[in-house]
Assembly symmetry: C2
Homo-oligomer: 239 residues x 2
Amino acid sequence: MAMARTGKQEAIEVPWLYKKLNPEVAAENAYVGYYKDKGKCCYGVFEGIIAELRKEVGSPYTTIPTSMMIYGEGGIAETANICGALNGASALIFLTTGRIEIEKRGVAYALINELFNWYEQEALPNYRPKNPKFEIVKSVSRSTICHASVSNWCKTAKFKSFSKERSERCAWLTASVAKYAVELLNKNFEGNFKPVHNLSATVQSCRSCHDEGSVLENTRGTMDCGGCHFTQKIKHPKT
Amino acid sequence: MAMARTGKQEAIEVPWLYKKLNPEVAAENAYVGYYKDKGKCCYGVFEGIIAELRKEVGSPYTTIPTSMMIYGEGGIAETANICGALNGASALIFLTTGRIEIEKRGVAYALINELFNWYEQEALPNYRPKNPKFEIVKSVSRSTICHASVSNWCKTAKFKSFSKERSERCAWLTASVAKYAVELLNKNFEGNFKPVHNLSATVQSCRSCHDEGSVLENTRGTMDCGGCHFTQKIKHPKT
């Protein structure tokens, strides 16, 4: 932890001290946080993990207004863009492992990238809360975007996007993301984190023409391209 | 402002006191914040506005670790999902106008939705910093997603996605988003905010079959559907 670099503020800047947490406790907190005050996905993950850090570390975790993170609800203010659980987890991961110096951000970004790739590739939610409202089937999202993730689950589960079951699925997903984020942070704390979910060969193929250093170099990023592009009947132009 | 509801923490929960700010000063701060410490888009907007609130309001703005928001860089840890400038602005808008009670979140969410619709529909960046590195042409993003917004600009400007010019465009965009966010917050502070960028008739048509209360009800959200779906040669199935 480092004190602010100027006299202008008293804020304690990243990284804040992390201590190993119980992933299942964080998951249960996140599930409760989703429903408590109807804080939903982003708040659920962020508050669910911070609550344990308040106990294990104390200050400065006692000072951060976790209610700010409610904004990530439903992909930010219900716009259904980035999954709120991922958004809240990313902020928390950077708070605890991030660095202001750009050349030292790699650790936090590797943890976040692993979380995002896991979210796109695994059948989720994979954490069942102790006292669920419903049983929830799993689906593979192929996207870190709220509305795509929701639509793919609705198709698999045969429930509507504003059903109580879909909301419960997002509560389980909030718990699942909190659990995996803590597992990653614990591994990093112990010095043995290695990414296990990598970009697929297909995505790497897309990036070889469209990402940094390529011939076209007309986009960027590490999202699963095929989750949105060249689906259904549309084919990629011949190369 | 309200003190935390339990004895477990000392955090001051949302909403934090807002005072009218100068949008152009926030924009210049955001531009500088993009480059300073290479904080980039999300941090640039968040720190750019908070810096003024530290001056105008003081505590508790002096206590928040704005460096946490670096995580939004390049659509969250360079994954190129949600535009970082929008992510940082949304957190700031909720911090200053949000409420824990779900039935009182409408004001903050209306401000965020206006910002998102503006971002999709307007030719941006529309703020020219006082000391730019390059001159930057405008484009219409049709998407709040980083990589789509970048790709549309690259197509219009004929620069590559990892060029210095594209980075400068994102710095101008960071400034533009900070400026419009402050304009919206000022209007809300004065009690005369009204949304001026609404969902298009096309998006409303999509939502009439796919969103809440519709026959299919298989997705959600307020993003511009046509920015990604049924582009190029693919047509919507006959209804």
